[in-house]
Point group: C2
Chain length 168, copies 2
C-alpha cells in the first residue's frame, strides 16, 4: 500500500484488495481455531469448531481459485480488522475462569469472526456480479453460505445448552 499514493483506482482494484484482505483473514482464522478448539469444554462445540477448521482451510483454497479465475496471483494484505477480532478473542477468553462461561465466550468470539466474514463475502459477491464474474460470485457464495450455517449453528448451541450451563 502506498503511503503517499492512492493505490485503489478502479472498482476492480477495490475487489482485488478486499480479496487479499479476506485471504489474510481466513488464514489468521485457520491459525486461531486450534487454540479455541483446545479450550472448548462442550463436546458439540468442540466438534463444531473442528468442522469449521476444516471448512476454513477449504475457504483458503477456494479463495486461491478465485484469484486465479480473476487472473491474479493469490496474495494477502494485512487486515487490522481480523487482527483486532482475534486479539480481543484471546484477551476475553484468557480472562475467563469457569469452563462453562468460557464456552459462551468462545461462541461469542467465533461469531464475531463469522460476522466479519459474512460482511466481507457479501460485498465481494455483489462486486463480482457487478464486474460480470458470476463464476467468481458462485464460488464466494459457497463460502458465504457455509459461514452463515456455522453462525446459526453456534447460536443454536448457545441458546440450547451453553448459556444455560454458563448461567448455572
Amino acid at each position: 500500500m502506498g503511503l503517499f499514493t492512492k493505490d485503489i483506482r478502479t472498482f476492480d482494484d477495490l475487489f482485488l484488495h478486499q480479496l487479499k484482505d479476506i485471504l489474510y483473514a481466513e488464514k489468521r482464522i485457520v491459525g486461531a481455531l486450534p487454540k479455541m478448539i483446545a479450550k472448548a469444554a462442550d463436546a458439540e462445540l468442540r466438534a463444531g469448531l473442528e468442522q469449521h477448521f476444516d471448512q476454513t482451510k477449504n475457504h483458503v483454497k477456494r479463495l486461491e481459485q478465485v484469484f486465479r479465475l480473476h487472473g491474479a496471483a493469490p496474495a494477502s494484505v494485512e487486515c487490522p480488522a481480523i487482527d483486532g477480532i482475534i486479539e480481543e478473542a484471546n484477551e476475553v477468553v484468557g480472562e475467563v475462569a469457569d469452563a462453562a462461561v468460557l464456552d459462551a465466550a468462545l461462541i461469542n468470539a467465533a461469531q464475531a469472526a463469522e460476522h466479519y466474514e459474512i460482511a466481507r463475502y457479501g460485498s465481494l459477491i455483489s462486486w463480482a456480479r457487478q464486474l460480470g464474474r458470476s463464476d467468481v460470485a458462485g464460488l464466494l457464495q459457497k463460502t458465504l453460505d457455509e459461514e452463515k450455517v456455522t453462525d446459526r449453528k453456534l447460536t443454536t448451541l448457545a441458546e440450547g445448552r451453553v448459556n444455560l450451563r454458563a448461567a448455572s
Copy 2:
C-alpha cells in the same frame, strides 16, 4: 483487567464485560461516522450514514440505560476488534482515488462495523434472557433491529446504484 488473574468468573461478569466492550465500540463508531459522511459522494449514502450517526448516539444512551437497569455504572473497556475495523476502514478508504469507488468502499467499511455489532448484540440479547433480564434484552433488541435495518439499506444502496457507478 488483571494481567495475572482471571477477572471474568461468572456469566454475569462476561455479560457485563461485553456490555462495556460494545459501549466502547458504539462510542468509537460515533467518532468515526462524521469522517465517513464527509467522504461520501452519493447523496442517499450520505443521508443514510447521517441517520445512522443519530441512531448510534441513541444506542450509546440506550446502553447506558441497560447498565443502570443491570445495577452497574456505565463503563467501557478497550475493544481491539472495533479499533481494527475502524483502522482498516481508514486505510482502505484512504487508498481510493475515485469518488464512485470510494462510495463502494465506504459501504463495505460501514457493513463490517454493522456486522460486528450484530454479532455482539445477538450474544448480549441471548445472555440477558438467560440471566432473566427480559427488560434489558428488549432494549438491546431495539438496537439490534436498527443495526440490521441499516445493514440491509446499505446492501440495497450498493446493489441498486453505488456498485454500478463504481464499475462504470
